[in-house]
């Protein structure tokens, strides 16, 4: 399913519920429906928010440039040596900014995982997915999807840059080794 098809499907569902609401208002002059189980009257909001946040990424734009080159980058404080992943450009311990950018090691080991069966609506167009946390060879953890049906704690994995389908943006995943 393409992203537009997914959106169309969701919009269709919304439109159907709005049509029902319109009919209720037309017949009763009020947006009130009775809940099926209890028959309690509920006012259905006639206002809605369609909201997408805008998250500033200027300070860590190098991370996204790195993805384009197939690299997963972290930051490292030149003073105390702390490695930050997810990356951040401020070291709150040393109170300095403009940290060094380093590439995350490719190899790691699963320390925790789960399979998401009940998905949020915004992820409903994906099959059930595995989320894992891997401890990479530098001791820093990465949380991401694990591209495998069978996962175990202790399993060796490789960190890879991938294109997220169907949206088509670059992200990273853990892939079983061997």
């Amino acid at each position: 399913m393409s992203l537009n098809e997914i959106r169309d499907k969701m919009q269709k569902e919304i439109s159907q519920s709005l049509t029902i609401l319109d009919n209720v208002i037309k017949t009763t002059k009020l947006p009130i429906v009775n809940e099926q189980k209890t028959n309690n009257p509920l006012w259905i909001d006639v206002r809605e928010i369609d909201l997408r946040y805008q998250v500033p990424v200027k300070k860590i734009i190098k991370f996204f440039e790195g993805l384009r080159e197939g690299k997963v980058l972290a930051t490292k404080c030149p003073k105390c040596g702390s490695v930050y992943f997810p990356p951040q450009d401020d070291c709150p311990k040393c109170k300095i900014s403009n940290l060094d950018w380093i590439e995350m090691p490719k190899e790691g080991e699963i320390v925790a995982y789960t399979i998401i069966n009940v998905k949020p609506p915004s992820f409903s167009h994906y099959q059930d997915y595995v989320v894992g946390i891997a401890r990479m060879s530098n001791g820093v953890n990465v949380l991401s999807w694990v591209r495998a049906k069978e996962v175990k704690v202790g399993m060796k994995v490789r960190l890879e840059v991938v294109e997220r389908k169907p949206e088509g943006y670059l992200t990273y995943e853990l892939v079983p080794m061997g």
């Binding site: 992943f85 997810p86 789960t114 998401i116 069966n117 009940v118 949020p120 609506p121 915004s122 949380l143």
Partner: protein, 395 residues
């Protein structure tokens, strides 16, 4: 610093409460708490509203609740600490009294999660962590957070699915005896094992439900409490700690570090040794948003050694009559988890237990006069541990 006591408690029926709106729901609990304390609203000097919101329509819940409950124009604020919001609200009122700023304060925790459709609630709770790195890209859900811990714990200590089931069965057993509980029905191991997967290894019957509910307490300084009641329940101490927003930045996935830190703080202030801490308490309410959370709570509170929490469940040592009764009000699992109300509900449960006012079949034997609540926000993003006693704290 002054001693602070609970002098009134209020608790609504938890569950799907489409018969009332948010402020009406809060009023049910506030009214009960005021009546118990025998106080009028004008005697409340400050009130705190614990509410996470997002799923409910009112943007300023403290103001809406204040107006509806006739508490305006007293000072107020809305408190948010995820699933430990209720305990955070208690903390604010407790400190206000302890410091001498006010003498009487009211705490109300209220949440109405059913104002939004369930799928959207799943979406909103999933976003409650390190949003950008862990939700936006990888769609981690709230059960998923705890499922990560469950998988790590099982791999390290050899805990079985059935051990988690023991927690669910116990909490439903007591939920069936609590008229305020959302689920008043016992469950069997067979039903547990067959229940629908939510986030492996957690199933539907490992999970607390989406709930509407409110709870309230009136807190007073020692001087005022003495005048109002013969049976105050004192707040002996409270510990509070936090954890990283990104779960990936944790070093250990087999326990909740913030909860252990909070417990150590509370124990230190109360003069309780961490090892064998359970000996001090008649009853505990711990955060069992998922069954694995209760297992980890046993260890983070020092009720069991590291890696042995599941054995406490397996041996049924947390039923009434066991080593330490835990969640005998049904816990979040069966009583329900109206996020902003949960911490206050725990305080109400413990206070009523210590005063021998618990529901039939859920009352513990009170020997020490002391109980404890363990309330975790998120997956150890926040943690509050509070100790309550019928005996006046000496320090």
């Amino acid at each position: 610093m002054r001693n602070v006591a609970i002098i009134g408690t209020g608790h609504t029926k938890f569950g799907v409460r489409t018969d009332v709106n948010l402020q009406e729901l809060a009023w049910e609990a506030v009214k009960q708490a005021l009546e118990e304390a025998n106080l009028e609203q004008n005697e409340i000097q400050y009130f705190v509203v614990g509410n996470v919101g997002n799923w409910s329509s009112e943007e300023l819940p403290a103001v809406i609740v204040g107006e509806y409950c006739n508490l305006t124009p007293k000072g107020t604020m809305r408190v948010e600490a995820a699933c430990s919001t209720g305990s955070a609200a208690i903390r604010d009122a407790y400190l206000a009294i302890k410091s001498g700023e006010v003498d009487i304060a009211l705490v109300v925790g209220v949440e109405q999660m059913h104002q939004a459709p369930n799928p959207q609630v799943v979406e909103l709770i999933g976003r409650a962590g390190g949003y950008f790195w862990e939700f936006e890209n990888f769609g981690l859900t709230f059960p998923g957070y705890y499922a990560l811990h469950a998988s790590a714990y099982m791999a390290k200590y050899g805990m079985k699915e059935e051990d988690l089931g023991k927690i669910a069965i116990k909490n439903h057993y007591y939920g069936a005896r609590n008229p305020y509980a959302q689920f008043q029905k016992e469950i069997t191991m067979e039903e547990y094992l067959k229940s629908k997967p939510v986030a492996y290894p957690l199933k539907l019957l490992d999970s607390s439900p989406i709930t509407d509910g409110a709870a309230a307490i009136v807190l007073a300084s020692e001087e005022v409490a003495r005048k109002i009641t013969d049976s105050p329940v004192w707040i002996v101490s409270q510990g509070v700690a936090s954890g990283t927003a990104n779960l990936s930045r944790r070093t250990d996935f087999t326990h909740i570090e913030a909860a252990q830190i909070a417990a150590q703080q509370a124990y230190k202030k109360a003069g309780i040794e961490f090892d064998n801490a359970w000996k001090n308490f008649d009853v505990a309410d711990v955060h069992d948003c998922f069954t694995i959370a209760e297992i980890m709570a046993y260890e983070d509170l020092g009720f069991a050694k590291r890696g042995e929490g599941y054995l406490l469940a397996r041996e049924e040592q947390t039923y009434i009559g066991g080593k330490i009764p835990v969640n005998v009000d049904g816990g979040l699992k069966a009583k329900g988890h109206p996020i902003g109300a949960t911490g206050v509900s725990m305080a109400v449960s413990i206070a009523r237990q210590l005063l021998y006012r618990a529901h039939k079949g859920t009352q513990v034997e009170v020997r020490n006069g002391m109980g404890i609540t363990h309330n975790v926000g998120g997956t150890g993003h926040y943690a509050y541990v509070t100790i309550y006693s019928t005996r006046r704290p000496s320090k």
